[in-house]
């Protein structure tokens, strides 16, 4: 079970928020950063990235502005808003709680019941 794993349903938004919480990024940068942090273990559909970015911006969780990229080209940079920061904390808490619960269930042995 090494190699790539597909993203769990509904977690892309959370990962994007995390990625831009470390500093403003353009869309391609978000993709690279998630792959980098995950050690290339996660496969993200490139096309699904932008609708997600637009949705998050629409919801006011991230904000965008045009800036200059590393190779002197104009690119759209996303950063986390205050609402986005709160949302990220919330999702992290939820995720951890959920992961604990699931792990407990999966680790339960027959005699413990």
């Amino acid at each position: 079970m090494s190699g790539h794993m597909d993203l769990l349903q509904g977690t892309l938004d959370m990962l994007i928020l995390k990625a831009v919480s470390l500093g403003p990024l353009h869309g391609y940068g978000v993709l690279l950063r998630i792959q980098q942090i995950s050690g290339d273990r996660l496969e993200i559909q490139q096309g699904s990235l932008y609708p997600a970015l637009y949705r998050l911006e629409h919801q006011g969780l991230i904000a965008s502005e045009w800036g200059e990229s590393e190779n002197k080209r104009k690119a759209k940079y996303y950063r986390l808003t205050a609402a986005g920061r709160r949302q990220l904390q919330q999702e992290r808490r939820n995720w951890n709680r959920m992961a604990d619960i699931i792990a407990d269930i999966l680790n339960t042995a027959a005699e413990e019941l």
């Binding site: 353009h26 629409h58 006011g60 759209k76």
Partner: protein, 878 residues
């Protein structure tokens, strides 16, 4: 805050659409190019890297669409496309579109117009403080048919003193006065009012003040409050307060000007004057002439107030048995009092308009259902190509919304025009008609109605049409749906017919009433008669002798004018007159079971009045110049009086006397009844006396009627001149012809009938279009089946009969339902009918016959078309 962010983002995306598109394009392109560069750094050729980058990214247009969806702008795009498509579809079937839009516009327009009037007259409260606590109080007695009657001055003051339920009571009476010492003397519509009137209503003067509590005492200084319109007429001076005007020859000081919207008790009132009665008049219990209103205390309800008035009335009856036995007081909310007569009319019109709207809606649903079927294939194809059900539903709703918006908009335009017409034609018919506007709530009413129409009558057929079974649709050519829809459409057509039938019967009954009214003989010749009203100033003409001499002089001068054929005078204008009744003793009459004095109208008339207006003499003689004040008292009576009290013997030569007058009066002649109070009412028993022998000096007014050789209005100048030459300070008022008076007296029933007739006409038209459309559609849908029948040898006659039977079955079902509903509802019209019973069988039969005939004509054409089907072609088309 999150919602705000979304709205902000949506607005930015929608309003700066092209910039958003450009930025999106740049952003995605940037991504692909960076990806390509990275791939090239990994050693791929530029072509391979570009290909890989694009492939991994996926279809760029689809991604863009997903991004747009994320921003919510796609909805807007799709809606725009839907709308464009809807308009194209509507343009493609102009007949359908025209009928749908017109029927909606008429239904919504009629409702909005009438609702404007209903809202204005019935729903809006009166412009007084806490109007719900204001009541009108009337005297009532079983011996006078328990009709609400005016209140005597003594009763009013006793009520006021003894009542605790009312915070305050006020009395008023219409009392026209002459305004003189001005360029053009004129009669003012003046109200005599108790000083408490304005505080009872809770209204203040705009300039100056209203009456002080003691300003209606007998010897108080003569003061007057003027209306806003009289103030404007007098030059809008801000220093009006303190100025004097001459009213009925006496100097009155103006103390206040009322605000423009104050119109109590009627809009045409010019001035209010204190009811300063002498102590003798204050104590009078026989003359019942005051209207009374009262303001209920905050913690008292209507029932308690009525109970208290009962106690007071019985106390008064015990104390003054001669005048108060059997008399009671009745309470009517002031709002009901003001709108009382108009309410049933307006509600009838509103009900008619609602029926019309229902028919329009049924018609729209019918058309949409049919349209849904004829488009079943198209919808099936779109579903097969992947359109979701919601998407198709939305498309269909957008189409009916487009219809509703255009129809509703046209309805609103129509009602803008219509409200103007109501203002013009309703003037004098509908209380405060001049103020009727298409206001905010009314526009809202129209909008809500349009929305309801769309939702119910657009959604249902839309759901129906979108629920398509693809396989069946494509294989059967939509025939299964068609059969199902035909049943529903049949039901809708039956409903349309039923509703239209109810409306037509209402119109029929009202029309019949109007015909009865128009064919009612007024009892006098109304053509070529000029009428003018004269009210004498009591300060100049104090006594009966002075008044009667002046009336006589006027008559002689007017008769001498060239072109004047005859002239006469009477105390009240015929056809719109009041009928003040008096108590009489009769000699040798059948009084009936009780000994109660009889009530009869009393009308002073001049010598020559009967000849001038064309009332024939049935028995005895006319008044002559010899019937002088000092001569033997004489009277004429009408037929009702004779029939009621001297049914067997000849009334001529009999004697009667006024209870207050005491002199015996000989009946010298008999005349027919006249429609004195309008065509609807009988005048009851009436006694005519000559003006020369009039004994009531307060009765200082007359209506002059002049029979002319030519157009009566051409004589106004000459008649005015003759009167002015006798007294330059004598104004004339209510100048009109008797034909105009007659027209005015039936204006309301005519107005109601015309409106209802127009509404019913449209309803009939729409229903017939529905009947026609249904069969035409059936024939079109069933062409193959009919062709098979024909091919198998069914004769043309048989086919036509088959189709007619099916179509007429629906018409008859609807008709039967409509007749039953109309039968149950007809009672509601009772108060508007004249000379016809609500359950008038001929009217019901005529309407039913009309429907059968018209429907038959409507279905004949499509039925005959069915016989022209060429079987070979029709079957080949399958």
């Amino acid at each position: 805050m999150r919602l705000g962010a979304r709205l902000h983002s949506w607005l930015r995306a929608t309003l700066h659409r092209s910039r958003m598109e450009r930025e999106m394009e740049n952003e995605l392109r940037f991504h692909i190019e960076r990806f390509r560069d990275d791939l090239m750094r990994g050693g791929l050729s530029i072509q391979e890297a570009t290909r890989r980058a694009q492939a991994e990214f996926g279809a760029i247009e689809a991604r863009k669409e997903e991004c747009r969806e994320a921003l919510g702008v796609h909805l807007f795009d799709e809606l725009r496309a839907d709308l464009r498509y809807a308009l194209r579809m509507l343009r493609k079937s102009p007949a359908f579109t025209t009928v749908a839009i017109l029927s909606l516009a008429l239904g919504i327009g009629a409702n909005t117009i009438i609702f404007s009037a209903v809202n204005h007259v019935l729903l809006r409260s009166l412009p007084y403080q806490q109007p719900a606590r204001l009541f009108a109080l009337w005297s009532r007695s079983a011996s006078h048919g328990a009709e609400p009657m005016h209140v005597s001055a003594a009763d009013f003051y006793d009520w006021r003193e003894q009542s605790h339920a009312f915070e305050s009571l006020a009395a008023y009476a219409s009392w026209p006065m002459n305004l003189t010492n001005v360029d053009e003397p004129r009669r003012l519509e003046t109200e005599l009012v108790s000083a408490s009137l304005f505080s009872t209503l809770g209204v203040n003067a705009q300039i100056g003040r209203t009456f002080l509590a003691d300003e209606d005492q007998e010897h108080s200084p003569f003061v007057v409050i003027i209306s806003h319109h009289l103030w404007r007429e007098m030059g809008e001076s801000s220093r009006i307060v303190g100025r004097t005007v001459t009213l009925n020859g006496s100097l009155a000081t103006v103390i206040g000007v009322m605000p423009p919207d104050f119109a109590f008790p009627a809009p045409d009132v010019d001035a209010w004057v204190p009811l300063s009665l002498s102590s003798e008049n204050r104590a009078n219990r026989e003359g019942r002439w005051l209207a009374v209103i009262g303001r209920l205390r905050a913690n008292i309800n209507r029932r308690d107030a009525a109970a208290e008035m009962d106690v007071i009335a019985s106390r008064l009856a015990a104390a003054y048995p001669a005048t108060n036995t059997g008399w009671n007081a009745s309470l009517v909310p002031l709002q009901d009092q003001v709108v009382g007569k108009t309410r049933p009319i307006l509600l009838t019109l509103q009900a008619g308009a609602i029926l019309l709207l229902l028919i329009s809606c049924a018609n729209l649903a019918n058309l949409l259902l049919a349209k849904g079927v004829s488009r079943a294939r198209e919808i099936g194809l779109r579903a097969a190509l992947g359109a979701s059900r919601g998407r198709i539903l939305r498309q269909l709703i957008v189409e009916s919304s487009a219809l509703a918006v255009v129809g509703g908009g046209m309805g609103l335009l129509l009602s803008l025009q219509g409200v103007g017409l109501v203002r013009t034609f309703g003037d004098g018919l509908i209380p405060r008609a001049g103020e009727i506007r298409l206001s905010g709530p009314v526009a809202l009413f129209a909008v809500i109605m349009t929305l309801i129409t769309v939702l119910i009558f657009g959604l249902v057929p839309a759901i129906h049409a979108s629920r398509v079974d693809l396989r069946e649709q494509i294989s059967s050519g939509g025939r299964a749906t068609a059969r199902n829809v035909e049943r529903k459409r049949g039901l809708l057509v039956a409903i349309e017919v039923g509703l239209a039938c109810v409306l037509l019967i209402g119109a029929g009954l009202l029309g019949e009433s109007l015909v009865h009214l128009l064919s009612t003989a007024p009892g006098l010749r109304t053509d070529h008669l000029l009428t003018l009203r004269l009210t004498l100033s009591r300060s100049h003409y104090r006594t009966n002798a002075e008044q009667n001499a002046f009336f006589d002089q006027i008559l002689r001068h007017v008769k001498d004018l060239p072109g004047v054929l005859a002239a006469g005078e009477i105390s009240d204008t015929p056809l719109e007159g009041n009928n003040p009744t008096f108590e009489f003793d009769l000699e040798g009459a059948i009084h009936g079971p009780s000994d109660a004095p009889i009530q009869a109208g009393l009308r002073p008339i001049s010598v020559g009045y009967l000849q001038a207006v064309g009332i024939p003499l049935l028995k005895g003689r006319n008044f002559t110049l010899d019937d002088r004040a000092d001569g033997a008292p004489v009277a004429l009576i009408n037929q009702t009086m004779a029939r009621r009290y001297w049914p067997i013997s000849n009334p001529v030569g009999r004697k009667l006397r006024l209870k207050e007058g005491q002199r015996w009066i000989s009946v010298v002649g008999l005349v027919p009844d006249v429609k004195h109070m309008g065509l609807r009412a009988d005048e009851g028993p009436v006694v005519y006396v000559p003006y020369a022998q009039k004994t009531q000096d307060w009765l200082a007014w007359t209506t002059l009627l002049v029979r002319t050789a030519g157009e009566p209005m051409d004589f106004v100048r000459a008649v005015r001149g003759a009167i002015r030459s006798l007294d330059k300070n004598q104004p004339v008022a209510e100048v009109s012809t008797l034909d105009q008076v007659l027209t005015r007296s039936i204006a309301m029933p005519r107005f109601t009938t015309v409106v209802i007739a127009a509404v019913s006409g449209f309803a009939l038209l729409i229903a017939v279009i529905g009947v026609y459309g249904l069969l035409a559609y059936t024939v079109a849908q069933r062409t193959p089946e009919l062709a098979v029948r024909q091919a198998l040898g069914a004769s043309s006659i048989r086919l036509v009969c088959l189709l007619l039977r099916q179509a007429m079955f629906r018409v008859l079902t609807g008709l039967a339902g409509g007749l039953i509903c109309a039968w149950l509802l007809a009672q509601w019209l009772q108060s508007l009918l004249f000379g016809v019973r609500p359950h008038d069988l001929p009217t019901f039969a005529n309407v039913a016959g009309l429907f059968v005939l018209v429907s038959f004509a409507a279905v004949l054409a499509p039925a005959l078309r069915a016989t022209k089907i060429d079987p070979t072609n029709a079957l080949r088309a399958e």
